[in-house]
Symmetry: C2
């Protein structure tokens, strides 16, 4: 497989850095092709603005999504966006490695989604979710938390990690753009002790050796929704 | 009241810009003191990194939250972070005005949370949620969507706006830091027609005139959770 790793942490010696390094060494030794976007090392521009385009359709009233749509057609994104989009098209599998900051991705990674997952490229009004622009590719979140696992259970103080916290990323970003997200890898409070970190690195290594066996998160295809965007009654199992 | 408006949109003529302008004019005419952080106009730095501190405790191994904790004690954040923190301490009410991008805040606003809601200032391991650093203040999200309201219902294709989408912001960012979030103001697909925009501006104006009557979102205080971070059985109404 061609594996793209999107990595967002300011400290190379961090546990996130160790997980990213393990991605590269393990996946390479398994015979995969690996590319890394190390957003901090690249000094990746986080903020979506006019500079993201080589030209603008409307200088007087800047509409970001509209300019994205045009830039996709005319191939006129800024070079840094083009490079990331090319890597996505090359990839069969995308791994996102980041610390969970404020129950979401760090701003530098949010900016990567805002800018690279462009209208016309990653989605359109007709092509979203299972028909999104990046369909045919799998993806996985690999993240670290500052609170223990119990805090993220359905009755946990921080909210259910899958249904309330990662949903806006797995469903709203990855699946929306056509990627098929598999179950995330979560290292709970790995900063607290060395033993945990070792155990998580071993566990992550096993996962990298069995990526194809990790189940996809079960989301409904768009065909399960009616013309009012409501899940059809026959699919409401819960 | 002292009202702080955190505004994140790249185009001043946008509908988000109009809502922000209405905030300023209406709240001022009602006798409130108003300050605005126009993140795009300020060219606000989105990415959390070493430059956020006037000095570092550990140059060799950069731990962001640890440096934040120290910077709070020694008053050594970068000037732009200090200014935002001072505005927060001044405010009785904080309004966040932004377009919903990828089911979350734009990167420039995520960066504002990452950098300004610092460990030691907005929270600590002991002081979170109802005892968070910004307690005693209210807050409100005011946002615009690209999909219609039906898409965000419990069976909607994009996921329940309150439980699945805005939860990580209202509960995870605002409430976590001690702010008391009231029900958000949401303009659904306002870009689609002029009539809708007029109607939303009138509706928003009415809301600004009745801010104190808008109910707070009902979240449990930390005392409702046990030592394993689980909601105590007597509070599980659902």
């Amino acid at each position: 497989m061609n594996v793209l790793i999107i990595y967002a942490h300011p400290e190379p010696k961090s546990f996130n850095g160790a997980l990213k390094d393990l991605d590269v060494s393990e996946l390479t030794s398994l015979g995969h092709q690996v590319k890394v976007s190390d957003l901090y090392a690249m000094n990746f521009k986080a903020v979506a603005d006019r500079d993201d385009f080589q030209m603008l359709e409307n200088e007087d009233f800047f509409k970001y999504a509209k300019e994205q749509k045009r830039a996709t057609k005319t191939n006129s994104f800024s070079k840094d966006i083009q490079r990331e989009q090319e890597k996505l098209l090359w990839a069969d599998f995308v791994i996102f490695q980041f610390p969970l900051w404020w129950f979401s991705v760090p701003a530098i990674l949010k900016g990567w989604f805002d800018r690279v997952f462009a209208s016309g490229f990653a989605y359109s009004s007709e092509n979203r979710y299972d028909s999104g622009g990046l369909k045919g590719r799998k993806a996985m979140l690999s993240t670290t938390t500052g609170s223990p696992k119990q805090a993220y259970t359905p009755y946990g103080i921080d909210g259910d990690i899958h249904e309330r916290i990662l949903y806006h990323i797995n469903h709203g970003m990855l699946y929306f753009a056509g990627l098929e997200p598999i179950e995330p890898f979560i290292a709970w409070t790995p900063s607290h002790n060395d033993e945990d970190r070792k155990r998580y690195l071993e566990e992550y290594k096993r996962r990298l050796n069995n990526l194809s066996e990790i189940p996809a998160i079960s989301y409904h295809p768009t065909s399960h929704y009616d013309e009012h965007h409501q899940l059809k009654k026959e699919y409401r199992a819960f």
